[in-house]
């Protein structure tokens, strides 16, 4: 029976686990912003209420309270009032149920700062920038970093002695320091590349040669700032994995048997690769989060900038929308790794079969 296949059972079990994790993440996303004092309606009202008389101010406030699901609404969509004429506030539990329902439908509410724009709209325009910046950077950085790391572990000698401290240094330089350095030296001092922004001022995002040209010119510095750090980090990980594999019994045994070196390397590479594969998926998952600071430094029009402006303006719906998206990315990446490793790793396959 296919449904009893150990790998499928394993995947189903993991999927269930990730659903639970997702619910916890949504709960955290709901709870943490509500610990503070700030109330989205107060924030908007302080901006729009100037010059309004009391009655229209209250009407407006109620409209906003309704929009952010903070008050009870009757069947026809009117705000309910208590005996003193104050709107009836929704209980926290009910708010949570509403929030959960909206989130599951993909509705992230509307932004406060850019009211009445929807959060999902803002994310939709910002996300492609982040993906275009991070995805190629991480994938290429991962490939090159792993190759260098494996070479360093295998060759040792001068190559290792130069590469290892260099990789250690690039992975220790915080992304934001490196980014600022690039902006200052290559962007402002030497003026080789534009220092900030995603494209030329006069252009609007569209599918055209001019726009593409401008965007790729602006792409160089942010790309470099992430790329070198990924290469360094991955090279270190792969190097220590390979050194560990070199010392294992199966490699010694294979050497004693007189198996060709290239073949042993292949065995080793396969074993050392698995944890690195996990690393790739984790990096892909955290990329949106890691992008925050990079994008802030380069004023790159992606998700990081969106979250930054949201933080500066206490735009909670936008903050939680972005953080939820990041969390979902991480969960999806982790789940894909679990599935992939389940298929690729004979050791995991063996434990599944025994369960």
């Amino acid at each position: 029976m296919l449904t009893n296949h150990p790998t499928i059972k394993h995947i189903a079990r993991r999927a269930g686990w990730y659903v639970v994790t997702f619910l916890v993440a949504v709960t955290i996303n709901f709870t943490l912003p509500r610990l503070g004092e700030a109330n989205p309606v107060d924030t908007i009202m302080s901006r729009v209420s100037a010059g309004l008389d009391a009655a229209s101010a209250q009407a407006k406030e109620e409209a906003y309270l309704k929009e952010f699901n903070l008050v009870e609404v009757d069947a026809v969509g009117r705000v309910k009032h208590d005996a003193r004429g104050r709107p009836v506030r929704t209980s926290l539990g009910q708010q949570f149920i509403n929030y959960l329902g909206m989130t599951l439908r993909g509705d992230l509410g509307s932004s406060i700062l850019q009211h009445p724009k929807r959060v999902s709209e803002i994310i939709k325009t910002a996300l492609p920038w982040t993906l275009a910046l991070q995805l190629p950077t991480i994938v290429f950085g991962w490939l090159i970093g792993n190759t260098l790391g494996a070479l360093a572990a295998y060759k040792r000698g001068v190559f290792d002695r130069v590469l290892y401290p260099l990789a250690l240094l690039t992975s220790a330089v915080p992304a934001f320091c490196f980014g600022m350095l690039l902006v200052y030296v290559l962007g402002i001092r030497l003026e080789w590349f534009p220092a900030v922004g995603g494209y030329d001022d006069g252009l609007t995002p569209e599918v055209s040669w001019a726009f593409f040209q401008s965007a790729s010119y602006y792409y160089v510095l942010p790309f470099l700032s992430v790329f070198l750090i990924v290469v360094g980090g991955q090279a270190i990980g792969m190097r220590s994995m390979c050194i560990y594999e070199l010392g294992t019994d199966y490699v010694k045994y294979a050497k004693l048997l007189g198996i060709k070196e290239s073949k042993i390397l292949l065995y080793m590479f396969r074993n050392a690769m698995l944890p690195q594969l996990t690393g790739l998926a984790l990096a892909l998952g955290t990329m949106v989060g890691g992008a925050l600071v990079t994008e802030m430094i380069f004023s790159y029009p992606g998700l990081g900038m969106a979250i930054l402006t949201a933080i500066q303006g206490s735009d909670y719906p936008l903050i939680t929308g972005c953080t939820l998206l990041v969390t979902v990315c991480v969960l999806v990446a982790n789940f894909s790794v679990d599935v992939l490793v389940g298929f690729l790793d004979p050791r995991v396959r063996a434990t599944q079969a025994h369960k």
Binding site: W17, T21, V24, I28, L35, G36, F176, L308, Q312
Partner: protein, 278 residues
């Protein structure tokens, strides 16, 4: 003693320790040797380095050397506090779950994995954004500690689980030691070197997390930190004004601390793990 000799024989350890002690001494002795004042304006904005102000002034006309020493102190403080909290929480959970096994272990592992996949920077952003007033340095350090303990818990759990079936643990159990006696007297001593390495990395994580938060504008309201100096420099056009002294020294300091902690960690690994020794 042999351990210390082994350690000092490794040039990487000597370099890392040297750099770290240097930053530590600067932060401790700086305020005694130099006049550190981060509240008084000593001149115009972005004055270049001179003999009276070695690293010039920032956008407010404050002395950069003072700011850097104060920032270094805050960053190290955050590192120590966040590192201690994260290591303690992670070690306790990891040791207990790893030794106990069974249902308790399953529950603790599930909780750890759960918080491991939810990015800690996101939780940090949400928490810091909601406590707008009263976001003090200590609070930030505690929050960082409470959100970054997960991977040390996972690492310590794996080690503790590998020790639980050893003969000396079984012997201790026969002799009537309780769970806490066994965990602290018969398992933890074997992992001390490992826990120390975890602490070093947690410290680096804490320092980086604080700097990232400050860069995003969610820094402490009550102190200068290295991340905050960078954030101020970035938002006040130090980059375009060519005022390198307003950000380059802070960048060097952060990198130096993190780099020294990283190489201390890897060189400790080389000494503690005989397999990596030549």
């Amino acid at each position: 003693m042999k351990l210390l000799k082994n350690l000092l024989a490794s040039p990487a350890f000597a370099l890392g320790m040297g750099l770290f002690v240097l930053t530590l001494l600067t932060s401790l002795l700086g305020p005694r040797l130099l006049h550190v004042d981060v509240n008084t304006r000593v001149g115009l904005a972005y004055l270049p380095p001179s003999s009276s102000h070695w690293l010039g002034t920032d956008h407010m006309g404050l002395d950069m050397v003072s700011l850097l020493i104060a920032g270094l102190r805050s960053s190290l403080y955050v590192g120590f506090l966040a590192g201690t909290v994260a290591t303690t929480v992670g070690t306790l959970i990891g040791l207990y779950g790893g030794y106990k096994g069974g249902l308790i272990d399953d529950v603790l592992t599930a909780a750890t994995n759960l918080f491991l996949v939810i990015p800690s920077l996101i939780v940090l952003i949400l928490l810091s954004a909601s406590i707008e007033n009263g976001r003090s340095l200590t609070l930030i350090a505690l929050i960082i500690g409470c959100t970054t303990w997960t991977w040390s818990a996972r690492a310590v759990r794996a080690q503790a689980a590998s020790l639980r079936n050893r003969d000396h643990v079984a012997l201790a159990r026969i002799n009537g030691y309780g769970t806490f006696g066994i965990v602290f007297l018969h398992i933890m001593p074997y992992l001390l070197s490992y826990i120390f390495m975890v602490f070093i990395l947690q410290m680096a994580t804490g320092i980086l997390a604080e700097a990232s938060l400050s860069m995003l504008g969610l820094g402490p309201y009550d102190s200068v930190s290295l991340g905050k100096i960078l954030n101020e420099a970035k938002t006040n056009e130090a980059l375009t004004d060519g005022a390198w002294w307003a950000f380059a020294p802070a960048m060097v300091l952060i990198t130096m601390i993190v780099f020294s902690l990283y190489i201390i960690n890897t060189s400790l690994e080389g000494v503690f793990n005989p397999r990596l020794r030549k």
